[in-house]
Symmetry: C2
Subunit: 433 residues, 2 copies
Amino acid sequence: MTTIKNWQEYSYYLALHLKNKERSAFRKQFLSLHPNDQLAFIYMLNEHTRKRLYRYIAPAEFAEIFGRLEPSEQRMVVEELQPAYVQETVRAMPTDEMVDFLSGFSVTETVPYLNLLETHEAEKVKRMLGYGKHTAGALMTTEYMVAHITHTVADVLLHVREQGENAETIYYIYIVDDEEILRGVVSLRDILLEAPTTIVEAIMQDKLISVETHIDQETVLHIVRDYDLLALPVTEQGKLLGIVTVDDVMDVYYEETEEDFGELAGVSGAIDLDIGVMQATKIRLGWLLRLIVISMIPVVFIYLNPQHAYSIALAVPLIASIAGNAGIQSLTAATRVKELGNEGDFKKLVLRDSLVASLLATVSAVAVAMLAVVLEQPVWQVMLCTLLAIFLSSVIGTILPYVVKDSASASSPVIATWSDAITVVLFITLLSF
Amino acid sequence: MTTIKNWQEYSYYLALHLKNKERSAFRKQFLSLHPNDQLAFIYMLNEHTRKRLYRYIAPAEFAEIFGRLEPSEQRMVVEELQPAYVQETVRAMPTDEMVDFLSGFSVTETVPYLNLLETHEAEKVKRMLGYGKHTAGALMTTEYMVAHITHTVADVLLHVREQGENAETIYYIYIVDDEEILRGVVSLRDILLEAPTTIVEAIMQDKLISVETHIDQETVLHIVRDYDLLALPVTEQGKLLGIVTVDDVMDVYYEETEEDFGELAGVSGAIDLDIGVMQATKIRLGWLLRLIVISMIPVVFIYLNPQHAYSIALAVPLIASIAGNAGIQSLTAATRVKELGNEGDFKKLVLRDSLVASLLATVSAVAVAMLAVVLEQPVWQVMLCTLLAIFLSSVIGTILPYVVKDSASASSPVIATWSDAITVVLFITLLSF
């Protein structure tokens, strides 16, 4: 990779230019970098040189970098800048990034920014701030190419040449009618291949997919992936309002995956390295304490049956461990299948994983029973307990993601803790016969 | 969503046309669908109507659908088709999909397909079949737009108009020199905005990112996401050989996520619904049995210390459960951070999560100790055991993903099982003082 290989040397000279106050040399080299690398360079600087950098580049040039920062980083950077510089920067951002930035602010705080925009633009941003978090409306950008249904290919090409600079993508041109209703789409590829006098209505794809503003970002993600789209139009009662581009969808994918991982381990919201110690502890402790309540079931059962203590001490940790692990396996498989999911998949999954659970339970029960013989423990009870505990944990693991509303309640720790409780209750019940 | 809303009605009429043998009506409506929806329709058919559908559409039309099938589905479909139809279909596929399909075959089996291609094309496919699984070389397509460094903007535009139909993307045009060395890239946007007589060398972006053929697909994914690319060029010693497009990268993202999920739960390779009962059982049982070996540590310890059975029975399941859950939380956070990872993150993560672990351990130890008072158990031993077990499990969970080579050894079941062992050993050791 060219960029990565030369990066050390390149950033060394960049930093040198900045240190020596060689403004134009610095600008030339810095601005030829991709915003992602510009940001990587800024991360290397101390506050003093960072402030010089801000002075060397214009707000409009800084806007692309600023839009890539996390909200928490944006707030830190704002502290280091003159208010006028911040406002100019924000004005130069595409609407979706502007909305991301402003969404952390109170309504009053957004006023100075909105005042800088043209009325029409300000209205648009205000409306977008009103869309729910994680919806297509909040994710969309309003910088897209649009053409009227009566336009010719030549009209559209001219329009792309004149306005293309400001659009997020020029590779799809959306076709609307007099009421701004979305009627179709043409790709730039089509435009280049067709005769200049052709009317776009004749060549546009009119079976196109769009989403309403309130649609969840996860649905947006699935559509873009399934249909290999570079952008997806967003409408309200048929009126075209914006587009969601594939690079923003990639970021959503990343967020959603992070969420799924976190929920599966009861560590939701405590993964990100930006989260501090106290915050992470609070979140994780909340989950652990909730689980202790479940753990009290086996404690009470064992306390009430001291006569079986030795068998319990010996057999329960082993059986509960296998059952818990089998449950975690089933849960993870079910969570993924549900996440990707069609309706019919649930039946198919339950059928397969119940069979798998029976087999796992049988094999494990025989193995543990053999161990019980060696350790002179009640063989039949141990075997039956192993069989039932593993089967039940697995089946609960499979069904749990489909029945709980709050998906964080279907996590590995939850299933492991329930497995302990099930094992103890089963074992003590079996021993009492 | 237009498509989804009308889908039921649309597919009803499609099926009707097919049933009534209305070939041209069927073709017209079917071919206007997106390949993703064409595939969804085919899934609804029985073998008889499916075979009629194959007859109604040409191999070249079927190629786009065929490329979207999973390898296992492709093999099933091949069974239903005439060999000549299959060969024509494969010939019409883009090289990356052709390679995906053929990579499941032995060298001899690929011969009839390769014979259909022009020598130059066949050589290319053969070379691509040689690239390692999950590398940039295996992922790339060779249908891209290329122009010589001396060409003008007008030359390139003409070239796009003539050859654009066959390229996977026409939105980036790669610039090479006489030795086919990749020298730069121009976007179609640039081409449209520049004067026709401009030489591309003057306007091309020459600081561009490319990867060598052997680079892992995970790296490809990170680059495409970080730099918001629609395509990434793949080279060998500087020579341009292909491009990886963003839609293929989305599929990789999906695969990698699935892998991570599976590994985290010791259920790797057993999630997909296409995996049968026996195969899924085999994979999962393998993991469970390996863990039983670890579980033998507490069993042996308890067996050798029967005098402590009652305390063990009462305290160990509770402490081990909390410790295991804390370990799973840490493991999940660490796995994600590593996955996204910079070098410096490890230190930052260990520092933060050790502090979090200390806090979690302290709070839990106090809570469990209070319970020990109520249940008349050895308070100090219970408290110290809880403190140490939770702290150790958490720290091991944080470090594990970074120290094990085989990432499936850093799964939730592994950490939970080790937590059990640690708790028992600690508790018995403490009781013996």
